[in-house]
Amino acid sequence: MTALLQVDELKTYFFTRDGLFKSVDGISLTVKKGKTLALVGESGSGKSVSMLSLLGLIPQPPGRIVGGKAFFHDRDLLHLPDRELQALRGEKIAMIFQDPMTSLNPYLRVSIQLTEGLRAHHNEISKKEARRRAIEALEHVGIPDAKQRIDRYPHEFSGGMRQRVMIAMALISRPELLIADEPTTALDVTIQAQILNLLKNLQKEMNLSIILITHDLGVVAGMADEICVMYAGKIVERGTADDIFYTPSHPYTIGLLGSMPRLDSGKGDLKAIPGLPPDPSRLPKGCPFADRCPKVMRQCRDDHPLPLRKYSSTQEALCYWEKKEGEKT
């Protein structure tokens, strides 16, 4: 199994008047060919920023990638000249965004937005050919009457259809890696399932690697091969989907799972994690989760790097607390 993307100690900081925001503070991850990696965490945990960093889409200033490497086919995305990175964007690595209502330009026909990436990369593709491929892409993502619909404006599509258009737009150049930034958050539950199924099918068909950014563990469950749980700019736990769901070992992951509403539990059984994530410009010493952690210990607040505890060949957590065999969480 070869790695398509290998991110090593990526750090993206924002230098603002209000101080230094360590939005992404040394994350490492590996995406394998044809597999799905999920980045899970609350809003502000650095999920999106880390992915935008890879694509060179961080607003600079105030943002700056201060360290790390990200190899995609032996090329370090973080140190690539702008022009080369732009040539990769959309062509080899594509991204879909959270809100399909705002990620399509309301003034442009869908056909223009679908083809403009393609035409930016390939001068040789004629307008007609680009249009043909756009129609094909729309049909591929299950939009009926693609031939007619392609000349419509975004506001003439429903939310789910717009997200399909976004997916068609991202996949039109047949990229190898798709970054999906909360692709279903803004959609109805029924539509969510459709979109996730669509992504899964397309993945199989095109041997696509996917990085799925989400705060919804329910979405992750059916999709992800590997899960990275992020908190305050760090990956606090990683493991396979089974590892995370059946034997979570970081108190934050346990809290996240506990705060998922379950049909089989009684009313009022919703456990929220107390408190709020720390202000990213004033991160506490030691573990950023310490103030909210039910298992907090004295050394958690020490100014030392946190220990990486390995639970199996696939699972590890960034925490002092060690879960005992069979301990009830």
Partner: protein, 293 residues
């Protein structure tokens, strides 16, 4: 027939522009203003064929006569037909209004969108430059231009446009600064679309709504500026006339031949009023908040 048109429309998709146009049609004052402007503009364009007298032809024996069935708007002290002169004045005034606005539009949109999109230091420098230009006394600037290059109508267009683009650039910049944070810009960037294309095809169409409204306010502004400059004797030269020079002449004869003042003033006022109604209507029609009704 109507059914067929509706079907075609449904197939092509209705843009926000078309929606806005539909809403504009419902605004009576705006439609009246728009029609008035069309009539006024075609009269101006067709002036040499409509007017029964050449605009520079004097008839000193006749002198100034009040409006009658031969001279609809009367004549001035030199016996020139006022109807002809007002129509020819409209040519100059409307041309100044449109061309100077076009100049300001071209420079302003380009400058503003680049400044807003680039942000950071570039934006800062470009905006400070703008403020310096703002601080220059405009009348003084035009007088210097006129003295240096002689009285030339095209120079007048450029000079007026060069003043108006400052505000246009500011408006566009403000819009672009907020628009560039929209997700569709990120989405386009993530597709590998370049900066130039993002400005040209994503940002500028989105600011056009605001810009069009501002244009309808700029045109009367420019016409007034031209009238003001002509009034001071810096605009068009005799025997050519603009509304400004006609008003200026009329002021001198106000007590004896009031029609010389009233008629050009009324033409100017009606045109400005029509432009303002149209501008108001456009603003309401293009307001995204209203798009739900």
């Amino acid at each position: 027939m109507i059914m067929k048109a509706a079907v075609v429309e449904a197939e092509k998709g209705r843009s926000l522009w078309q929606d806005a146009f539909q809403r504009l049609l419902k605004n009576k004052m705006a439609v009246i203003g728009f029609c008035y402007l069309i009539v006024q503009a075609s009269l101006a364009v067709l002036a040499p064929w409509i007017a029964s007298f050449p605009f520079e032809e004097t008839d000193l024996l006749l002198g100034a006569v009040a409006p009658d069935s031969v001279h609809y708007f009367g004549t001035d002290a030199l016996g020139r037909d006022m109807f002809t002169r007002v129509l020819h004045g409209a040519r100059i005034s409307l041309m100044v209004g449109i061309l100077a606005t076009a100049v300001s539009l071209a420079i302003g949109v380009l400058y503003g969108s680049i400044s807003g999109y680039m942000g950071g230091r570039v934006d800062n420098i470009m905006m400070r430059l703008l403020e310096i230009l703002y601080a220059l006394p405009f009348t003084f600037f035009v007088i210097i231009l006129m003295v240096l290059f002689g009285r030339n109508i095209y120079l007048l267009f450029i000079a007026l446009g060069a003043i108006q683009w400052l505000t246009m650039a500011r408006i566009v910049r403000g819009q672009v600064v907020s628009l560039k944070k929209m997700e569709y810009v990120d989405a386009a960037r993530s597709m590998g679309v370049g900066h130039v294309r993002i400005i040209a095809s994503h940002l500028i169409p989105n600011v056009l709504g605001t810009v069009i409204v501002y244009v309808t306010l700029t045109v009367p502004n420019v016409i007034l500026e031209e009238a003001f400059l002509s009034f001071l004797g810096l605009g068009v030269q005799e025997p050519m006339a603009s509304w400004g020079t006609l008003i200026s002449d009329g002021v001198g004869a106000m007590q004896t031949y009031p029609w010389m003042l009233i008629i050009p003033c009324a033409s100017l006022m009606l045109t400005l009023l029509a432009l303002n109604f149209l501008g108001d209507g456009l603003r309401d029609a293009l307001d995204p908040q209203a798009s739900k009704d």
